[in-house]
């Protein structure tokens, strides 16, 4: 725990909760104070998280900023936090996204504003908690704790069909994560009564058990990613959630599933994951093409972006299960890119929704003439989402297709077609909304004001920063990814070793 002993990760987790408690004390009437308090809290959390970025030591794969205290000693559960190359970027993403969510819902949330901001702050602490925890129980606690605020965000402040979407979201994730709970407990006993992830990673487990546990964890993570068959909750949740809700959902929540794969499924069950890669690659490729093609037929703006994130996350899982350094690093970077780009897309859709209160694409047309600045910002996000070079999308997608192609040629080629269809639906969306004759409904729209520009500015900066100088971000991952891949690919050597000494004994 460097930085002269200051427990930075714990403050990151508990400061938002303290902020939420502070909000509780403020009376419901002066909403302005509530908004400013939550903004200040989220900004302070972001500022505290910046030293993570600067102080991070990129040359080691070991966990940094670690903290460890006993939590439930009798069951050997301890409160241990720490981040490495893989999780650091997500922590920063969550802190940044929360600020933007507070900004975007400044005057779009009218009812129950106090509960809204409390839920967002609790969301933030749960998100950071998931990415920092090194103890399975702590991870699971944050993983599930995030369900409550998200359920309320979608359910209370959502659109017309919000209740169905909220319940669907909740049950989908809950069933998956409960199966994971069983997996965690079985792993606990298998590895000699410990929940500590680093310790669990050193042990090897019998092959058959690895398969079972991999599928238990798959249930939880695949729902979150969302991978192909279990993705139908995402469009509903996105369409019905308020802007801030869908931004958090798209930018950070979805990443937890893929992060789970990288942090848990791969290192803990190397042989099983290697055996399962063909299945996973097929699912990812289906997700990419399925998501992209379905976007062509969408009429609702947010639903289209939701399906596009199904396709983008298909790329991420492809990168992860390519099991080579380009694919993995591409996957992780693509998670950040997707967070930034889809987050920005939802922010901008939120802005236009506040003005027109309609999500049907057919109601739009010719917005570019009314709102030129907004149109150009939206164009940048569309280009990043297509993966145009010099934007962040390209770096991630190229590395993933490279890694995917190396792992399995068919996967690489089919994934590359996703890029074409991607360009298709995004440009078609952009044309129907921004170009052509101005639709009466969107005739006299006011262009975006300063607050909204400030909300989108960090996204633009990130898009071009990662696009032009990605090493600033890729640099974090090299060591951790190398270590992870050694562990995943070394699994078999270990078994070979075991087999060898059995032979010696027989001989």
């Amino acid at each position: 725990m460097n930085l002269n002993g200051f427990p930075i990760l714990s403050t990151l987790i508990f400061l938002p909760i303290a902020g939420a408690v502070l909000l509780l004390l403020i009376s419901r009437s002066n909403e302005n104070l509530i908004k400013w308090v939550s903004l200040i809290v989220s900004i302070t959390v972001f500022i505290i998280s910046i030293p993570l970025f600067t102080e991070f030591n990129k040359s080691t794969h070991l966990m940094q900023f670690t903290e460890k205290h006993a939590w439930v000693p009798s069951l050997n559960i301890n409160y241990s936090l720490g981040i490495d190359g893989i999780s650091i970027l997500f922590v920063l993403l969550s802190t940044l996204i929360t600020i933007l969510c507070v900004l975007i819902s400044w005057n779009s949330i009218k009812a129950k504003t106090k509960e809204f901001y409390i839920s967002i702050l609790i969301m933030e602490s749960a998100m950071i908690g998931v990415f920092c925890s090194l103890d399975f129980m702590l991870f699971y606690l944050f993983w599930e704790a995030m369900l409550i605020p998200m359920y309320l965000l979608i359910g209370v402040w959502g659109g017309s069909n919000r209740i169905y979407a909220a319940v669907k979201f909740f049950l989908f994730t809950l069933v998956g994560s409960l199966l994971m709970l069983i997996g965690i407990i079985v792993l606990y006993y298998q590895a000699g009564r410990t929940f500590d992830i680093l310790e669990l990673m050193t042990k090897t487990y019998p092959y058959q058990l690895q398969i079972w546990l991999l599928w238990a964890f798959f249930a939880a993570f695949a729902v979150k990613v969302p991978m192909f068959p279990v993705h139908t909750w995402l469009p509903d949740a996105h369409t019905e959630a308020p802007t801030a809700g869908s931004v958090i959902l798209a930018a950070v929540l979805i990443k937890m599933g893929a992060y789970g794969f990288i942090r848990f499924s791969l290192p803990l069950f190397p042989d099983a994951s290697r055996a399962m890669t063909p299945v996973m690659l097929t699912l990812s490729v289906i997700a990419i093409i399925y998501g992209a093609v379905i976007c062509l037929a969408q009429t609702d703006l947010k639903r289209l972006i939701a399906y596009s994130s199904v396709s983008h996350m298909g790329f991420v899982t492809l990168g992860i299960f390519a099991l080579n350094s380009q694919g993995m690093e591409g996957g992780i970077l693509q998670m950040i890119n997707h967070g930034v780009v889809t987050g920005a897309l939802f922010l901008s859709v939120g802005m236009i929704y506040d003005r027109t209160h309609t999500r049907q694409i057919s109601d739009y047309g010719g917005v570019a003439s009314a709102m030129p600045v907004y149109a150009s910002l939206f164009m940048v996000f569309t280009l990043a989402s297509i993966g145009l070079p010099a934007t962040n999308g390209f770096i991630g997608e190229f590395l993933i297709i490279l890694g995917g192609f190396k792992a399995n040629q068919w996967a690489g080629v089919l994934a590359a077609t996703g890029v074409i269809i991607g360009a298709g639906y995004m440009l078609w969306l952009y044309q129907r909304v921004f170009f052509m004759e101005t639709n009466q409904k969107v005739a006299g729209l006011a262009d975006i004001n300063l607050r909204e520009i400030i909300t989108l500015l960090p996204m633009i900066i990130l898009i071009f920063w990662i696009g032009i100088y990605p090493n600033a971000f890729l640099g974090f991952m090299h060591e951790s990814v190398k270590h992870l891949l050694e562990r995943v690919n070394s699994g078999s050597m270990h078994e070979v070793g075991v087999a060898k000494n059995i032979l010696e004994i027989i001989k």
């Binding site: 409550i148 359920y151 359910g155 909740f170």
Partner: protein, 478 residues
């Protein structure tokens, strides 16, 4: 006067709390004649419970040559019973005034029922067990029918009485069989007899174990002996429903644990064979039937049946870790369940029943604090992490898996996912719907205190469960 000299006064130390409890219960009955304000009687009963708790901590040991055991295991259960009484009294002070049954006997009956439970918890012998059980049962029957002028309450008492008596008949039949087989009713003696003579396959033993299983399943409202629970929970006054959903259920588990672990310890495989189908059925019926309920008390009844299913998992594990998880779960269950019922009671005001789920629509808008409390309890009952409910369930699953019942844990997990649906429905009604009528809450200092205790407990245990788990682990080693 043959060998009167042989008679020696048994050591009353360990029994002291029970004796003091009896005297205080009767004292309160008398005080009711003198004191007009019922609140003072409530206060008196809380003071007496505090006194008994104070005594409890010191008194351990075995007396009445083995018929009464006051060890850590029974102490833990008695703590749960004390907690149950205090919270019930707090929430019912204003409630029974509204229901116009504001009599002193209410409190003394609660104390007597708790006395019965304490006896059951420390029963080292089937006879003490039967006595404790009947004492608890009888006073609870009366409490169930306390609303004399309400048909539902009478009907609830009648059903509870008849079926209770029917079940205790089975208990007695079992006792007589085991007595005939082993020649003794002392649990330790029975277990040594069984292990010495190796009766594990013996049909009579299996028959008696079945009888015991039936009687205890009735008490903890496990399926297929749960039919009484929804009607009785709905019919009886809500404070008593809260009392019944925690007290007798915990006592049932105390006895179930004690009898099956000590007496039939050797024949573990057989009685797990009985309990596993019961546990699965209980979780299934409890969770599935709750989904289509419209009355909140009935829904909470089914939810408490489902929770009995989860706790059964701990018993089935059979290890001391299993028993510790049962103790831990029941302790947490007491808080969240009474908390939920407290909110239901708050909704009951002059001329407004507040029983239907639709009465909760828009509660978040009219009474945000009450809605927030109910939200915490609902999520805790579902078992979502930051709340204590999760810690309870998690520890149960751990003990079940460590005993090799992973498949049972998976089934339990699936059913608890189903349970999320009807708990969420309440949260959905409160937060996501517009209020129909202006709901008036009847808040009293008692209920406010009870709610604060329960919500703090649910959140604190959720985040820092180690204290409770350690105590439970110590208590489980009997």
């Amino acid at each position: 006067m043959t060998n009167l000299t042989g008679f020696s006064m048994p050591d009353l130390g360990p029994v002291m709390p029970e004796i003091v409890m009896t005297c205080l219960a009767l004292l309160i009955l008398l005080a009711d004649l003198v004191i007009k304000r019922k609140e003072t009687i409530a206060f008196l009963s809380i003071v007496s419970v505090a006194a008994v708790t104070y005594l409890l901590v010191g008194s351990t040991g075995i007396t009445f040559n083995g018929m009464f055991i006051a060890d850590n295991y029974s102490l833990f259960f008695k703590l749960i019973f004390m907690l149950n009484v205090v919270l019930t009294v707090l929430i019912s002070v204003k409630y029974i005034a509204i229901e116009k049954v504001n009599f002193g006997e209410y409190y003394s009956l609660i104390l007597l029922s708790t006395l019965g439970m304490m006896l059951m918890a420390s029963a080292g012998d089937l006879i003490t067990l039967y006595l404790g059980l009947e004492l608890m049962a009888l006073s609870t029957y009366v409490l169930a029918g306390f609303l004399r002028h309400d048909i539902k309450s009478n009907e609830a008492a009648m059903k509870y009485f008849l079926l209770g008596a029917f079940a205790s008949a089975f208990l007695l039949y079992g006792t007589s069989l085991i007595y005939g087989l082993t020649g003794t009713t002392d649990l330790k003696a029975i277990s040594s007899y069984i292990s010495v003579n190796g009766l594990s396959g013996n049909p009579v033993l299996t028959l008696s174990m079945t009888m015991f299983a039936v009687a205890f399943s009735f008490k903890i409202a496990a399926v297929p002996f749960h039919m009484w629970a929804p009607d009785v929970y709905e019919g009886s006054p809500t404070s008593i429903t809260a009392f019944m959903s925690v007290g007798p259920k915990a006592a049932g588990f105390a006895v179930l644990g004690r009898v099956f672990m000590t007496a039939f310890g050797a024949a573990r495989i057989e009685w797990t064979g009985i309990l596993i189908p019961i546990a699965i059925l209980t979780m299934a019926v409890g969770n599935i039937a709750a989904i289509s309920q419209i009355n909140i008390k009935r829904m909470l009844a089914y939810s408490s049946i489902a929770h009995a299913g989860y706790v059964l998992l701990g018993i089935i594990a059979g290890t001391s870790e299993g028993t510790a998880s049962v103790l831990n779960y029941l302790f947490i269950y007491a808080f969240m369940n009474i908390g939920a019922f407290a909110v239901v009671i708050m909704l009951r005001s002059e001329g407004f029943k507040g029983d239907d789920i639709s009465d909760y629509e828009g509660l978040a808008k009219t009474h945000p604090l009450a809605a927030a409390l109910m939200l915490v309890f609902m999520f805790s009952l579902t078992g979502i992490p930051p709340t204590a409910g999760f810690m309870g369930k998690f520890y149960i699953f751990m003990s079940a898996i460590s005993a090799g019942y992973t498949w049972l844990a998976v089934i339990a997990v699936i059913f608890s996912a189903i349970s999320a649906y009807f708990y969420l429905r309440i949260v959905m009604y409160m937060y996501m719907k517009e209020p129909k009528a202006a709901v008036q809450l009847s808040v009293s200092p008692g209920i406010a205190l009870a709610l604060t205790i329960t919500v703090i407990a649910v959140l604190v245990i959720g985040v820092l469960p180690s204290k409770v788990i350690n105590v439970a682990r110590i208590a489980a080693r009997f």
